[in-house]
Symmetry: C2
């Protein structure tokens, strides 16, 4: 199961066999049940989560008291609250399993030790987090420049399987649909 992460790392940096062995012995797989949280608002985020199998989402409770999904993560994605992680401050976010999932949770202290022993991992995490940030910036652009129908169709075209995997109400909040547009989708009119 570690091979999914090792392979992902090797897309960005080359690991020596001894480094692969070190990673395999340092990392633990966790099974997280659907709807279980790995982070809740108010907690300090002390880990980064790599998704081996399944799906997670990062969400907030908005000012209407409803859940607003800001990010999804599926296989081979990292998910965490970077600000809470780096500043050791209380998180403003929830991170929850959308499906029964297998993840590798790397604790901050373990990560720091791995980064010292395998400095090239700095490069891996730099590139991966910069690309994730870039993707998040694109999502914001889509929210401001596309109509709800365009956002839905664009997302469906880019992630055809994913649209089937998550509850529609989560997708609706992620793509910031109005209740009206959501009804159209539910009625199969889009």
């Amino acid at each position: 199961m570690h091979s999914v992460l090792i392979n992902h790392i090797q897309k960005f940096v080359s690991l020596e066999p001894s480094e692969v062995t070190l990673l395999e012995s340092s990392l633990n797989l966790s099974q997280i049940k659907k709807k279980e949280h790995v982070l809740q608002e108010g907690q300090v985020c002390n880990a980064m989560y790599f998704i081996i199998k399944g799906c997670f989402r990062q969400y907030i409770i908005n000012n209407k008291g409803t859940e607003q999904t800001l990010q999804f993560g599926i296989e081979s994605w990292w998910i965490t609250d970077y600000l809470s992680f780096h500043n050791t401050t209380q998180s403003h976010f929830y991170i929850q399993a959308v499906e029964n999932s297998d993840i590798i949770a790397i604790d901050k202290i373990v990560l720091e030790s791995l980064l010292i022993q395998i400095p090239k991992l700095e490069r891996y995490f730099r590139i991966v987090s910069q690309k994730t940030f870039g993707a998040a910036q694109m999502r914001i652009k889509f929210l401001f420049t596309m109509s709800a129908e365009e956002r839905y169709n664009h997302f469906k075209n880019q992630n055809p399987e994913f649209v089937q995997r998550v509850p529609q109400y989560m997708l609706a909040s992620y793509l910031d649909f109005s209740a009206e547009f959501m009804s159209k989708i539910r009625a199969g009119k889009v």
Copy 2:
């Protein structure tokens, strides 16, 4: 002038004197006039920009044809389009000087060479970009959870000087104000 960047790097990693010398000889300072762009939509983003003095913003043209500011950067901030930078794809964003500014623009090829010669810079850029990403996530949370007045007051409290530095219409789009609330601010009613 390079010392601002060197000092910023040294907040995260320790540099040897030879590494400081290498950085000083590799980096060039550019003066960018107010309203000048370092990146326009459709161009490939080939550099990262560190602001020594002045202010930049990243913006898009929204579906009403108006400029929507997504991010500001001031002294000791990095600004770039990470997705375009990493994937060598056309950018969807504009990056523009809001004031006459001094920046260090690091070209992708120069950066790659510096990262090979000073691998600990990987750590610096990892932490800085993860923190920037974390701050961007917080901005999204504020957009969804605070009223326009709360967002304005929160931003003003956190950045009292900054509110005076940028045109109100840029701040309004960054904080996603309605025209109505903008008029209240203009009339001094907030």
